[in-house]
């Protein structure tokens, strides 16, 4: 049997972790679904009608919260000096453990929470259709969800790394680290801009903005996905997109490689 990857062993591990999922994470998922229903009911009671796109936005937020918390619920003990022993001593390779972590956190949990939220929304729609302007699932909302799912996987990979990196307060520590990295990057940019010179930077930006269509609010370029999709043929926008996707891909890969290394080398 391979010491790196064996499909039979991997499936056994996934099955074992799936069986443990309801006990570890089931209540949290149910609470999130209940919370969503209460939120929608309260919104409707206040007289506001909720459109499918607004509800889908809410579902994305709810899913984001769940996938951020899932790693610490499902695999929060993996680096615990006492509670993590059963996990590390299991006769399964590190590759299989990492892949199983991905399947459980990114696929199973996401499917479970989305199914729960869709069912809850459908139930509310069937009870009070007058307050809900349309059924949740349509082409537009599905596109909206599809786009956000990739961002969710990206964010979750960071929290999965944080889960195996930090011993305590895993989510809070990951948030604090992200804020720290953000400020560090700003500092690096400021230093780089100072070295290049702010005038040269201004000149460079003006040249690029001059190439963009005039009717566009230029500073929304990076935050508006619809805009990016429409104007991706513009070289500058395309380059930004390529850089952005590359960074997303590189960070996600780095997080998973880091998770693999930590599972392999953590001392107990």
């Amino acid at each position: 049997m391979s010491n790196i990857f064996n499909i039979k062993r991997f499936c056994t591990l996934v099955r074992k972790e799936c069986r443990e999922l309801p006990g570890k994470c089931g209540l949290s998922i149910l609470s999130m679904v209940g919370g969503y229903m209460i939120f929608i009911i309260l919104t409707m009671l206040s007289g506001v009608s909720v459109s499918p796109s607004k509800r889908m936005a809410m579902i994305v937020v709810w899913t984001a919260v769940t996938v951020i918390f899932a790693p610490s619920k499902l695999h929060g003990n993996v680096n615990h000096s006492r509670k993590g022993l059963n996990y590390v001593l299991l006769p399964v390779s590190t590759m299989e453990k990492t892949l199983s972590m991905f399947v459980l956190n990114s696929i199973c949990t996401t499917i479970l929470i989305l199914t729960g939220l869709f069912l809850a929304d459908t139930l509310l729609y069937l009870i009070v259709p007058s307050r809900m302007t349309g059924f949740l699932i349509n082409v537009e909302t599905l596109n909206q969800l599809g786009r956000q799912l990739f961002d969710l996987f990206f964010i979750q990979s960071i929290f999965i790394l944080g889960n195996v990196l930090f011993k305590r307060q895993k989510i809070a520590m990951t948030f604090i680290s992200l804020i720290g990295i953000f400020f560090l990057l700003i500092l690096v940019f400021i230093v780089v801009f100072r070295i290049i010179g702010f005038e040269a930077l201004e000149h460079f930006t003006e040249n690029i903005l001059a190439d963009l269509p005039r009717e566009i609010d230029n500073w929304q370029v990076l935050s508006n996905r619809a805009f990016v999709n429409t104007y991706s043929h513009i070289p500058f926008v395309r380059n930004i997109l390529i850089i952005s996707y590359s960074i997303h891909g590189a960070v996600t890969a780095a997080c998973w490689i880091g998770t693999y290394r930590l599972i392999k080398t953590t001392k107990y």
Partner: protein, 277 residues
Amino acid sequence: MMIQIRDLSFSYSKNKVFTGLNMSLEEGNVYGLLGQNGVGKTTLLKLMSGLLRSEKDTCDVNGFHPYKRQPAFFQDIFFLPEEPACPLGSVAHFADNNGSFYPGFNKEQFLACLDRFEIKPKKRFKDLSAGQQKKAHISYALSLNTRILLLDEPSNGMDIPSKSIFRSIVAGLINEERLMIISTHQVRDLENLIDPIIILDQSGVLLYASIEEIAARVCFLTAHDKYPEALYAEETPLGYSLVKANTEGIDTKVNLETLFNAVLMHKEWFRDHFKRG
């Protein structure tokens, strides 16, 4: 040799635990690992099971370098810590879920062990007392049938009948292909079970000998007075419990507790008289 430790050094940051430790352990034995607090008994078990990092070639277990953490290595070794974590769900569910990864896991044997310890398999772990949880974990560890079993203070927290059940189960399970290492302070609980005996101290192995070797070299006596030539004398209600060099070839039963104290008092004497080739 099933476990070969060669020139093993280990430290927790600046706190040195082992410097150049050497040891060979063979299958077919239940080793008793003894030592004062902090000499590194648990650390040694963790190094053997790959939970801590050892340099390559310093620790060879069943032909593997433990820290590589390969599935083939883990299939044949199990380490039960002193205080195992309390898993979610029932005892049977835990064993079913985890035992399937071990080729030697025998569910009937697990249920039989639980039955002897009077633990109901359907009970949830969190509903069991600490001692009962320990017994459930021991039943699981023993029924995995791994070639190497490392038990850290297994009898801690067990009631008196359970200790004898534990001894009887372990005695029935040991065979020529298996090796067990039991780290313990409760030597009386495991007398007649552990053989050979390994006593560690800060400088390394103080004593590594079989019960037969120990009995041949030292004798354990009870006397009204202290013998001047005794290596160690301990006052008891009946007089003195003595350990002395067995120069007259007396056949006595090894008392592990007095032996341990004698070894700590006369480290050099025991090192000289129990040198291994």
